[in-house]
């Protein structure tokens, strides 16, 4: 099944944003890039995304706030959040998880780990889709 899932990358460092975008596009994802918290908030309010790749230290609104807002929005209940941050303290990871982040990678991250996480999340979506469709048939 083709990966047409929508991913938004929220990362203020242009090169890192580009790095993630290049690799996810290669995997077949529909990728959108934003570079600050405010644009992320606006885009996430406009339409649902399947996966959010989220930096924490952002200009304007930080990643923790974005995380909370996504989880508080019923329309985004099925959105997966992958945090990618240079903050490496356990308390930051815990905080992100409490706010609803599904995965936390610290910078510098392994590209393979990031791609694996996204692939797994994506496979999960496919499984859910099949289960839902089969139950409809029954």
């Amino acid at each position: 099944m083709a990966n047409t899932k929508k991913v938004i990358i929220v990362e203020d460092d242009r090169d890192i944003n580009e790095l993630i975008a290049y690799n996810l596009r290669k995997e077949g994802f529909d990728v959108e890039q934003v570079f600050d918290g405010l644009s992320a908030r606006r885009r996430l309010a406009e339409e649902p995304f399947n996966i959010v790749i989220l930096d924490i230290m952002l200009p304007g609104i930080d990643g923790f706030d974005i995380c909370r807002e996504i989880k508080e929005n019923p329309g985004q209940a099925r959105t997966f959040i992958v945090v990618v941050s240079a903050k490496c303290h356990e308390q930051d990871k815990l905080y992100a998880h409490l706010l609803g982040a599904d995965c936390y990678l610290t910078k510098p991250f392994n590209l393979a780990s990031l791609l694996n996480a996204v692939r797994q999340i994506s496979a999960n979506f496919d499984k859910e889709f099949l289960v839902r469709n089969s139950s409809v048939r029954v």
Partner: protein, 368 residues
């Protein structure tokens, strides 16, 4: 008979009085010595009785809580020092008769961090009071926080370029090497970030060298205008690309006494910023103003200026008005901090005046 008996008694009384006087003297001396020790202590000392009435306090305690001995003695602790955290410690000591040591973050009546050591005073087996020794550790905690923030900032600044380097190398290894359109660009990005790491490490080393107390200035008398002319070629190509005109308006004969290589670093950092944050076809002016106490050197640009809210923090390490822009332009966030430290080593001062949209004037002074 009677007389001699009386004389003897009087003599005895006299010697007893002498002894008493001596004892009193000794006691007074001891008391004075104790007082002197208490008075000279950097810690605040307060003694209260079992009803928490203040029996004694030293000058440091007076200073900490902004009170006086006269107004404090004999009053209930909470009346004099309206703080519940310390009162609670006293109550615990009086109740349990045990030594207690606590770090307290006070907001009222003063905003400070204290290490409070409280011991019971016992008389014939019963607790009759409490001795408080209060150590002001606000500055120690502040420095610790600063150091922690600095380490966090440095690691963030190091990790960001590393993330790009590692990520793009992995991308190339995963097959992007064959992507002719992008692979060269990826290699350029890797190269840029390696350069950035190098600049950052150099700036960190400079800063740590300047900050270490023992750094010796090699002061010389030299012509400032010639120094400015000498460093111009460094900026020529960058300025030409943006069409920026740099004018050295320092008077030819002006001489200053300072560490030449350090002042060179100050000027390089300031002129570099003035070009980087300038508009296309803008200008940079370097001029001086005589002061009664020395000389003021100004580097003026015609760039976007600095928002008023950022001005008080602009010389702080890693503080950036526009983080993304600064990174794009290769800034480490340490340049102005280095400038400030060098000038302060020369007992001068630094500052900035800026109007948004019109430009900024960064200045420093060098005393005679």
């Amino acid at each position: 008979m009677f007389n001699s008996g009386l004389k003897k008694k009087i003599a005895e009384l006299n010697s007893a009085l002498e002894l008493l006087k001596e004892r009193l003297n000794t006691l007074e001396n001891e008391n004075n010595r104790g007082r002197a020790i208490l008075d000279s202590m950097v810690e605040g000392v307060i003694v209260v009785d079992k009803d928490t009435r203040v029996l004694s306090l030293n000058p440091t305690a007076e200073k900490i809580f902004n009170t006086t001995r006269e107004s404090a003695l004999g009053r209930i602790f909470l009346e004099v020092f309206p703080n519940n955290d310390i009162a609670e410690v006293i109550a615990l000591v009086l109740g349990r008769g045990e030594f207690i040591s606590r770090e307290l973050n006070l907001v009222w009546p003063v905003q400070k961090v204290f290490q409070v050591n409280a011991s019971p005073i016992s008389e014939s087996g019963a607790v009759s009071g409490c001795l408080l020794v209060i150590h002001d550790i606000t500055e120690i905690r502040r420095l610790e926080n600063m150091r922690r923030d600095f380490v966090a900032n440095v690691s963030h600044e190091l990790k960001t370029p590393l993330t790009s380097i590692k990520g793009f190398v992995e991308t190339l290894l995963e097959g992007a090497l064959d992507d002719k359109e992008n692979s060269v660009n990826f290699l350029k990005i890797i190269n840029n970030h390696a350069d950035r790491l190098n600049t950052l490490i150099n700036d960190l080393l400079d800063l740590s060298h300047i900050e270490s107390k023992g750094v010796a200035l090699k002061k010389d008398k030299f012509a400032l205008s010639i120094l400015v002319d000498e460093i111009m070629p460094v900026f020529r190509s960058h300025a030409k690309k943006k069409g920026i005109e740099i004018r050295n308006e320092i008077p030819q004969g002006l001489q200053i006494t300072a560490d030449r290589s350090k002042i060179e670093q100050v000027l390089v950092n300031l002129i570099n910023n003035a070009i980087k944050y300038n508009k296309e076809k803008g200008s940079v002016r370097i001029y001086s103003e005589p002061l009664a106490s020395g000389i003021k050197v100004v580097v003026e640009d015609s760039g976007a200026g600095i928002p008023a809210k950022d001005i008080p923090r602009i010389f702080e390490r890693f503080y950036r008005v526009d983080k993304a822009r600064s990174r794009e332009l290769g800034g480490t966030g340490l340049g102005l901090s280095i400038v400030k430290h060098i000038i302060e080593l020369h007992s001068g001062s630094v500052g900035v005046e800026s109007t948004e949209g019109l430009g900024s004037k960064f200045w420093f002074t060098i005393p005679k």
